[in-house]
């Protein structure tokens, strides 16, 4: 009976206008996004060939991350060129910094498309699963057969999930394969593993919204009511809660602004220049003292900032969209945790390169900068697994709620 229901749902979907328009939208967007972000990645790769440091120069630059095509995250901040100078680290930004339109709208990467568009699509699949059948009177007929309500619900869910997930995976697979065919990035085994994990997270996220749709459709008496509720809940979960949460967290944790930090550095530097003249220390000793003070400042800042990040993560996880973004970007290696690690590594690198640099400004034989991305295991242990599990828990809770709702439903 379960299979009959699944088959019926898939067949009904295949014939519907909804399926046509929704799959068209999702396919066009996923394909466009992969194409545009892929081209963007290749341009950045070509730039990297120009800006990669010559051996011996104290510059830290990471090559662009191929997975940033899927999850752009903090890629722009991570692929800056960090140049070690006597008085600190100068960060130069890549090409997207001058065009202010980039700053107005978030990047249309795969994660964004899934987070925003596919969640909406999943809701559109789920919003009338129960109440439309009740409106049409077919719910009575189905339940007059020897089929339990749980089976009915599970069948509906499975059928719709399959008719959503299969086209989605097909389009993504084709897009990624096309992207992998062009010369440039090498898709290594671990990278494919990460890709699969991101796809898994996307499926869990979509499943969650499908369950939410199912739940509301079992609760609401009319499908138009269900749709209105779901659209507003969707806007709330995807847009408003995570974005307000970050700002709310900022009000609870007192972190100096970026501007305050850079001004502070300028001030300390100014003071030390003046004092070095009146107090006659050696310049190298002054630089060392200056550097120590900068590092203390930085350490204090990092501590506070980490607290802010932890708090805003806690608040944001109320919304599954935020949990999904955290999980996907961390798995791709463009997340907040990875960026923070990179900054720490750059500071360590600076402290290694600095003694040579103060001794001789022109021919510094600096060690090459090396950075190892966290492995998938480390990412999962550091919170990725929690986010994934959180998505699944959300989904299961919603599904359970829809079971409770349909049990109480009067099917007449």
């Amino acid at each position: 009976m379960f299979r009959t229901i699944v088959r019926k749902e898939i067949a009904a979907n295949l014939l519907s206008y909804k399926f046509f328009i929704v799959i068209l939208l999702a396919s066009v967007l996923v394909a466009t996004s992969l194409f545009v972000m892929g081209r963007d990645y290749r341009n950045r790769l070509a730039d990297y060939q120009l800006i990669r440091p010559e051996p011996g120069r104290p510059i830290a630059v990471l090559p662009p991350n191929p997975l940033s095509v899927m999850a752009k995250g903090l890629e722009d901040a991570m692929t800056r060129s960090f140049e070690v100078e006597v008085i600190g680290i100068e960060a130069r930004t890549g090409r997207s910094s001058a065009n202010a339109v980039f700053a107005f709208f978030p990047a249309p990467d795969f994660v964004y498309i899934v987070k925003v568009v596919l969640s909406l699509v999943a809701l559109l699949f789920g919003f009338d699963l129960v109440c439309r059948e009740r409106e049409a009177g077919t719910l009575k007929l189905i339940l007059s057969n020897p089929v339990s309500r749980a089976t009915l619900l599970a069948g509906k869910w499975t059928g719709n999930f399959l008719s959503l997930a299969v086209p989605f995976l097909l389009v993504t697979g084709v897009g990624v394969a096309l992207f992998a065919l062009v010369p440039g990035p090498r898709w290594t085994g671990p990278m494919l593993g990460r890709l699969a994990l991101i796809l898994g997270a996307s499926l869990a996220y979509i499943a969650l919204f499908l369950s939410l749709g199912l739940c509301v459709s079992a609760l609401a008496r009319r499908s138009s009511t269900a749709l209105v509720i779901l659209l507003l809940v969707w806007a709330l979960l995807v847009f408003i809660l995570p974005n307000l949460g970050t700002l709310a967290a900022r009000q609870a944790v007192d972190v100096p602004s970026v501007k305050a930090m850079s001004e502070k550095r300028q001030q300390i530097w100014t003071r030390e220049v003046l004092l070095s003249i009146s107090e006659r220390g050696t310049w190298a000793a002054r630089i060392a003292a200056l550097n120590d003070e900068f590092d203390r400042l930085e350490e204090d800042y990092r501590l506070k900032f980490d607290r802010l990040v932890r708090l805003s993560k806690k608040i944001n996880r109320v919304s599954p969209a935020a949990a999904f973004v955290y999980a996907a970007t961390e798995i791709a290696g463009t997340g907040i945790g990875e960026e923070s690690r990179l900054k720490e590594e750059v500071i360590r690198y600076k402290n290694r390169a600095l003694p040579d640099l103060t001794r001789d400004r022109t021919s510094a034989a600096a060690p090459a900068f090396a950075y190892r991305c966290r492995t998938v295991g480390e990412v999962l242990a550091a919170g990725g697994l929690f986010d994934l599990a959180w998505l699944v828990v959300f989904g299961v809770v919603f599904f359970g709620a829809s079971y409770a709702a349909i049990l109480r439903t009067d099917v007449r």
Binding site: F104, E263, L275
Partner: protein, 477 residues
């Protein structure tokens, strides 16, 4: 008759569930957003005044011309309008090492965002079944059997839905504005209220576009459930995808050279290569001077002490050495000029290309009413690209006055003590000009907002015209 239809629309909306849902959502989240943004704006004001106090205290103790320019760099103070609109002010600041990753991960919610995303969605929710719903109920026939033109019916529906949407929005806004008015730290001036009025006018036209779109789609579709799907399809494309894709499309169509590579090349030109060229030029010129003045023979190999001695001993040598020194200086100036011009060519090329790309991205994104409205709100509230340029002009004026001040001050110092090291001596800079940010006048901002506003209005008219056409062709049975 029009009034009757509008009233009927408003009444039926007022009783509907979706109106209630939209109302409650707006009434909760608009004030919540304003409260959070207001607190954040006050926090930013505190941060700003702390920073300014810090700068002043450093200036009173450690000011010296070698590093003064680094300390007095102009910075944008938080403006009172940040309590409603954020625009570009939450930039991650990628040029500083401690860049802020949070705004990149989750862009801020502000008034612009609420209007542009939440209210446009609400507009579709309220209008998606304007025609198709009545047709399904069979009331459309009845309405049209009265002596009423189709155009009137359609116009009444659009007006009624827009009013039913604006009513809760304005109520929620009023609640938010009370928060702003009650906060003593946010001193809103007349120009702020003027800008808000402009933004609300823009919001009205923007929402008109979406109400019109909902009506247009609903008169093309036989069933309401198909109508909402098509409306959402268009909405997703126009609001969530086109603006985001446009800067990427522009960067593919009009690529710019790598900023990092150009920056490094400029450094090389004006540092290493400049030194080489300067050494070469000054050696040539000095050799020419030595040829003309045989008394200088061997001066290149003399130590500093010997040269000073020779100058004191021999007036002819002193005069020739003066020419020698001047020529050497002129050679370095020449080297600086040549290399500076080369660097300027690179920088100018980069700037031109970046501007061309930005322009293209702006043009592409303005195909979407969402982007037009965002720019309109950002420019009116002084948080957009126009303000970035305005701030740039103010800083340039500040640097000019700063350089003038530094020149005068160092001359005074030299006059008082000719042997003083003007760069590395502590100076009293209480009389130094300070950077003062003034917001751009409201009239200029309105002028900048004309283009996006006209685009929105044109789009609204086009959508209305299309919906009239579609409704005229509709089969009402």
């Amino acid at each position: 008759m029009l009034g009757l239809i509008v009233l009927k629309e408003i009444r039926s909306h007022l009783l509907s569930f979706r109106f209630l849902a939209v109302f409650v959502l707006l009434l909760v989240f608009v004030p919540a957003t304003v409260v959070i943004l207001t607190n954040d704006a006050v926090r930013q004001q505190d941060d700003y005044s702390r920073r300014q106090a810090e700068i002043e205290s450093y200036l009173s103790r450690y000011a010296h011309f070698n590093r003064l320019g680094g300390v007095v760099q102009p910075s944008q103070p938080p403006i009172p309008f940040l309590a409603l609109v954020r625009g570009l002010t939450s930039e991650p600041n990628l040029n500083a090492f401690d860049s802020d990753p949070l705004p990149v991960m989750f862009p801020l919610v502000d008034l612009t965002f609420i209007v542009a995303v939440l209210l446009s969605l609400a507009a579709l929710i309220l209008s998606y079944d304007a025609v198709s719903g009545e047709r399904e109920d069979g009331t459309l026939r009845l309405v049209l059997t009265n002596g009423v033109r189709r155009g009137t019916v359609l116009f009444g529906k659009i007006l009624g839905s827009a009013a039913a949407l604006f009513l809760p929005f304005l109520t929620a806004m009023a609640a938010g504005l009370v928060v702003i008015l009650l906060n003593p730290r946010l001193a809103w001036r007349g120009s702020d209220w003027g800008a808000l009025a402009g933004i609300l006018a823009g919001a009205f036209v923007y929402l008109g576009v979406f109400v019109g779109l909902g009506v247009l789609v609903s008169s093309r579709h036989a069933s309401s459930s198909a109508s909402i799907l098509t409306s959402l399809f268009v909405w997703v494309l126009v609001v969530l995808v086109v603006p985001n894709l446009s800067p990427y499309a522009a960067s593919l169509l009009r690529p710019t050279p790598s900023t990092i590579a150009v920056g490094r090349e400029v450094n090389r030109l004006t540092d290493i290569e400049r030194d080489e060229l300067g050494r070469k030029l000054s050696a040539e010129r000095r050799a020419a001077v030595v040829r003309d003045n045989p008394v200088l023979e061997g001066v290149e190999r003399m130590g500093e002490g010997e040269v000073q001695e020779a100058i004191k001993r021999d007036p002819v040598f002193a005069k020739a050495h003066e020419i020698f020194r001047k020529e050497s200086e002129a050679a370095w100036t020449e080297a600086n000029r040549i290399q500076g011009a080369k660097a300027e060519v690179l920088r100018g090329d980069l700037r031109r290309r970046e501007e061309a790309q930005t322009k293209l991205a702006l043009g592409l994104s303005m195909a979407s009413p969402f982007a037009s409205f965002t720019y309109l709100a950002a420019d009116l509230s002084n948080t957009g690209m126009r303000n970035t340029r305005h701030f740039g002009r103010l800083s340039a004026a500040f640097w000019t006055s700063y350089r003038e001040y530094a020149r005068k001050k160092t001359e005074e110092m030299r006059a008082a003590n000719p042997t003083v090291d003007v760069w590395n001596t502590a100076v009293d800079v209480r009389d130094m000009p300070r950077f003062v940010y003034t917001e751009e006048a409201l009239a200029a901002r309105f002028k900048a907002a004309v283009v996006p506003f006209l685009l929105l209005a044109g789009l609204a008219l086009a959508v209305f015209a299309a919906s009239v056409l579609a409704f005229n062709r509709a089969d009402v049975r």
